[in-house]
């Protein structure tokens, strides 16, 4: 199953269509506008996914795909980091006074996409905490006792 389909679609659009030749050039205005627009779609999509899951949890339901979505978001974030951060590094290296503003916008949009994935994952982790029992571990006021407990239960 992996990621919810709307999010997979939004991510496919988000990926910059940069060829090795284009990577040597500063970003063009249309590229920047396209990625900024796709970032907004990604944010909307993330909001919708969270609100849908939140409604289910508020109704006392545990969404079947919650664990899988959280795991897939981490995998996707890692994959995008591997793919996109080299572009960001190259964009930073080729930044010149003339291209500064466009490059900065392009870099910010790429990093924004990674933030959307990370923040949705964390929001879902907090939501998941409301659907599962905390377990029967004791409450510790002594950190050494806590660490000893963690060592022995691991």
């Amino acid at each position: 199953m992996g990621l919810p389909q709307p999010l997979s679609d939004a991510l496919r659009d988000f990926e910059p269509a940069e060829t090795p030749d284009r990577a040597r050039q500063p970003p063009r205005l249309e590229d920047v506008r396209a990625i900024e627009s796709n970032l907004e779609k990604l944010k909307d999509c993330s909001r919708t996914i969270f609100e849908t899951m939140e409604r289910k949890v508020a109704a006392g339901e545990r969404p079947d795909d919650l664990d899988e979505t959280i795991d897939s978001l981490l995998e996707t974030e890692e994959e995008f980091k591997r793919e996109l951060l080299p572009y960001v590094d190259r964009a930073r290296q080729r930044q010149t006074a003339a291209s500064d503003s466009l490059s900065s916008r392009w870099i910010e949009a790429i990093l924004g996409g990674l933030r959307v994935l990370r923040d949705l994952r964390w929001d879902l982790m907090a939501l998941r905490a409301e659907t599962e029992p905390p377990g029967d571990a004791p409450v510790f006021d002594n950190p050494r006792a806590l660490l000893e407990y963690l060592k022995t239960t691991r």
Binding site: L114, R115, M125, P143, L146
Partner: protein, 92 residues
């Protein structure tokens, strides 16, 4: 007098800790010890989780954070250690 920090590890936290492996687990131990003794230590970045009231995070190194939830029992408030996961701060 400031009451001591109290924590309870959740089943999820224990499971995630088991998955992340030893080098990070050692940093987790340091972070938890600091959280108990001096939660305001600047490197911990103990802060409210922005989208969910009652939740907080502390930082473990550059790339991990622990999610906490404020709870209470008959002895007073404590923090449930909800989970630990990758949280890359380089693009925040």
């Amino acid at each position: 007098m400031i009451p001591p920090v109290r924590t309870k590890p959740s089943t999820r936290f224990i499971k995630s800790l088991r998955k992340i492996g030893q080098p990070i687990a050692s940093r987790v131990a340091t972070a938890l010890e600091r959280f108990h003794t001096a939660p305001d230590t600047s490197g911990l970045n103990f802060e409210a989780f922005k989208n969910r009231p009652g939740f907080f995070t502390i930082r473990v190194g550059r790339n991990f954070r622990i999610l906490l939830k404020e709870e209470a029992d008959e002895e007073g408030p404590y923090y449930l250690l909800v989970d630990i996961a990758d949280h890359d701060d380089t693009y925040s």
